[in-house]
Symmetry: C2
Subunit: 216 residues, 2 copies
């Protein structure tokens, strides 16, 4: 499964959401064509993606919605609760944690750390912000393996080094910078400026440049 | 250019960052191999990606760093300043705007809107939060074409309908929901919960499940 391309894993997340929405509207089965249609994928794409992970369809029936949800959650690791720690209790960290939908029921915030002495000891939701010196002991004691990094770009590499050293194996990184990590640590980067660039690319090629140049 | 696959455009963004970092360290030329190496791409991949957009290399020299930066910025549309509007002046909206690196010099916040009467008229950086009723006139007057949507999932579709109607052509969406838009509107979705799922997938398959289950 290590060889599964990243985009296929994204599609599994999308299929899961689509299936959950079908479940809410009391659908019991779905075809690969129906599942793909709402997401703009071909039925062949849907079947190929699911084939990476096993055999899910039933001849003459398609996919059973409940069953496929159960199995995709297992594949995505969201059939259990993952504790996560947050590094960086600034605006972005606070916004992420308070944003509905970000920490869904599969993830639970276990601890919050910040390097700023002025923040340490203050409340962060139900938790208390801890100093970076406490990080290693906390990870050892709680066996947390995932961290969300919402620090400034210049601090990010140092933080990730500490996390890897402490035993963290997965990092969701919000700093717009390349991070070097040992091979046993997985980094998922959310580069927000890069998302805006994708948008400006699409708009440039669609000839809206003139209109935009007339803007403020 | 409309047919260029999304992931190739992401890679253009990554190449640009790598080139900017080379420029800072006074490199004048770079080979496709060097450019790819730091990002984990093969030289063939780099050459193929760049070929989508034209001919950039010089025989025996490789790529000229300054020239390639200039041309990639033009391709990404970041050689000009794009005005953007923000819908949703809550925690996430504030965090995004104050987060270093999000609005780089290619983007400028032109106006902020919120549906909450308690927020309207309050300051948001150098701007004043406006009511949604002002949206259409503002877009017409300023000819802004890009919007960032940081509202709750249940409000997102209504907001996007208003934006499309007003003349917005590109949306960066932070609501964890599927949005239906006319074909002339491009939506770039940043689904933060989905990013966490990618992480839990990688950690599940790497057999860290046991360790995590021992966690808090």
């Amino acid at each position: 499964m290590q060889d599964i391309p990243g985009p296929a894993v994204y599609r599994i997340s999308y299929y899961l959401r689509q299936l959950e929405s079908l479940q809410q509207s009391a659908h019991e089965t779905v075809s690969s064509k129906q599942l793909g249609k709402a997401l703009g994928f071909t039925d062949a794409q849907v079947r190929k993606d699911l084939t990476y992970f096993g055999q899910f369809g039933h001849p003459g029936v398609g996919y059973r919605v409940d069953e496929l949800i159960h199995r995709l959650k297992k594949i995505l690791g969201t059939d259990r609760v993952w504790p996560v720690i947050l590094i960086g209790a600034g605006n972005l960290g606070r916004a992420l944690m308070s944003y509905k939908g970000f920490l869904r029921k599969g993830f639970q915030l276990a601890a919050v750390f910040d390097a700023d002495p002025a923040k340490i000891g203050r409340r962060f939701g139900e938790l208390e912000i801890q100093s970076m010196e406490k990080l290693s002991d906390c990870v050892t004691a709680t066996q947390v393996r995932m961290a969300i990094v919402a620090v400034t770009p210049d601090a990010a590499q140092g933080v990730v080094n500490m996390l890897a050293q402490a035993g963290i194996r997965g990092v969701l990184n919000f700093s717009p910078t390349n991070l070097n990590v040992p091979p046993n640590v997985f980094v998922q980067s959310v580069d927000l400026a890069l998302q805006l660039e994708q948008l400006s690319f699409r708009m440039s090629i669609e000839g809206n440049a003139q209109a935009a140049e007339g803007g403020k």
